[in-house]
Symmetry: C2
Subunit: 321 residues, 2 copies
């Protein structure tokens, strides 16, 4: 089993590598080889019996995937992307990284006859937009209101078509908002969703820029990684007529998140949060859909978190407490 | 008013040029210039006061749109495309003509600052597919099951994004099955839908390869051309959050089509149709959606045919009877 991962140095890539090495197998076959690609060389952990090759690549450069694909990976995780704010700031860069590189990857698979290679790409809730219904389902149109979501939606179509033609065995998983991310706050509009839990749990202050009745559609890093693993294992025959769908997140309000924090860490933790409304963040986050009927993912065996308490407890375990 | 038309030598392009010259104006401004692009030079009709330039171009060649765009058209009709059977037979050709050329057109508008230019593209019912509901609406997902529909859906996303960013003023109209097309039967799966009316009305035989209870979602050439004209005139401000939608066709069964033929041309005409079931055609045409709630198009003032009788009567008038 040879697994290739683009965006391997990112938060998700890192967690996925850990999980794969922990499992030692994928699709019932021992993992013998990992090829890791990122802009900067991703750290290659030691693992007995696994050959790990880390390559620094600009994936927009011609031939960037050649060495990786010449190794004929059985599974490719395509996680590399320019994030939403950067794609919005620079249309050319977003199209080059998020769309053209995906197309080059598909063409690379096609020209090498890698028709049995499972290509798993991460898409996003940002691909949804427009006049959305109260509850979305697998047949809700993608009418993205940002360039990142547009580029992801275009990739979904192309991966579906290459798969339908039997040129690759593709699958696209649309990810809910991931909480609780480790690390520090960043420029993402959704950064607060992790911050208002992570910082108080670490004894630090955090800012909540949105009203507490705001809903979010969330999934824990653990369950996202499990979904990526399952995404490699679910057979192509049962994927149905379109190979992109939303993962089963859970809908939770900020108030419920804070209540869970109170239950697990006490009122003192909740008091570390300052409420400072930010209209800009509220506008962005408030436009994201929060209620999904994820029938296709459920039917295919993808699993979400049981409740928000499980998410926080997993974070505490994962961060060594 | 300078209007550019790609695919100008095609059936729709030809009818659109006729209609524009008949009107003499678009958006309340006299038409002074037409730039016509097609693989072979499109015939340029004579029209007083209108400069008509016809250019033979391979739109996949670099710079193919340069001369056209340097003329700073106010309206561009982008009708050029590789049809569904050809796009299915040759993935590279389909991607080059249907997607890459559209992207080049968008980039050409952007680099010249043609942000106020209205770009009207034709998309198709072939962009729909998968597990469709009984009645589709403006928020039904595009999950195309063919490469042509995939490429059109990708163009829709890109045109919407370029328009949202203010780089061009785009609009995509998804066309129902057009009946009655003039001319002869062709290789399209939907060819019979025109044939079973056109040929008997001309005193010739025709073959009906589908059961008479099959439904189709149809629009007359006249109404499609009127929709293209209206597509140039509807203000960008009212287009809403996604600039692609289905036009208001009408749902009609083959039995109703034949009944209309009987009413207008008698039983003798109906008797010229031989019923020879063709499983392949039935499978393709039977997979197309036939019931749409076209709320967005209706609200924007796009008009469909009143009933099937009007479609046949318009054909008789248009063909000089």
């Amino acid at each position: 089993m040879h697994i290739a991962i683009t965006g391997a140095a990112g938060f998700l890539g890192h967690r996925l590598i850990q999980r794969l090495l922990e499992r030692g197998e994928l699709r019932g076959e021992p993992i013998r080889r990992l090829t890791l690609i990122d802009q900067l060389e991703a750290g290659a952990p030691e693992a007995a019996g696994v050959e790990i090759v880390s390559q620094a690549r600009d994936i927009t450069a011609p031939g960037a995937f050649d060495a990786m694909l010449d190794g004929r990976p059985d599974v490719i995780y395509h996680l590399a992307a320019v994030v939403s704010s950067a794609a919005e700031a620079d249309l050319e860069l977003g199209l080059a990284v998020n769309f053209d590189a995906t197309r080059a990857l598909l063409e690379g698979c096609r020209s090498r006859g890698l028709s049995a290679t499972r290509l798993v790409m991460a898409s996003s809730v940002a691909a949804y937009g427009g006049e959305l219904p109260e509850t979305l389902d697998d047949m809700t149109a993608l009418q993205p209101q940002n360039s990142y979501g547009t580029q992801k939606a275009m990739c979904e179509l192309l991966i579906n078509d290459y798969s339908r033609r039997g040129l690759v065995d593709g699958l696209v998983l649309r990810l809910p908002t991931i909480v609780i991310r480790p690390g520090r706050p960043n420029a993402a509009a959704s950064s607060f969703a992790s911050s208002i839990l992570r910082e108080p749990l670490n004894g630090e202050e955090a800012i909540c820029p949105v009203p507490t009745d705001l809903d979010l559609f969330v999934m824990s890093p653990r369950k996202v990684v499990e979904a990526l693993v399952h995404g490699a294992e679910v057979p192509g025959e049962v994927l149905g007529s379109f190979r992109a769908f939303m993962l089963p997140g859970i809908t939770v309000s900020v108030a419920e998140m804070l209540e869970t924090l109170r239950e697990l860490a006490g009122q003192a933790a909740v008091k570390r949060i300052r409420h400072e409304p930010d209209a800009r963040i509220q506008a962005i986050v408030g436009s994201w859909p929060t209620r999904f009927n994820t029938r296709r993912a459920d039917r295919l065996g993808f699993e979400g978190d049981r409740d928000f308490q499980e998410i926080v407890e997993a974070f505490l375990v994962d961060s060594g407490r």
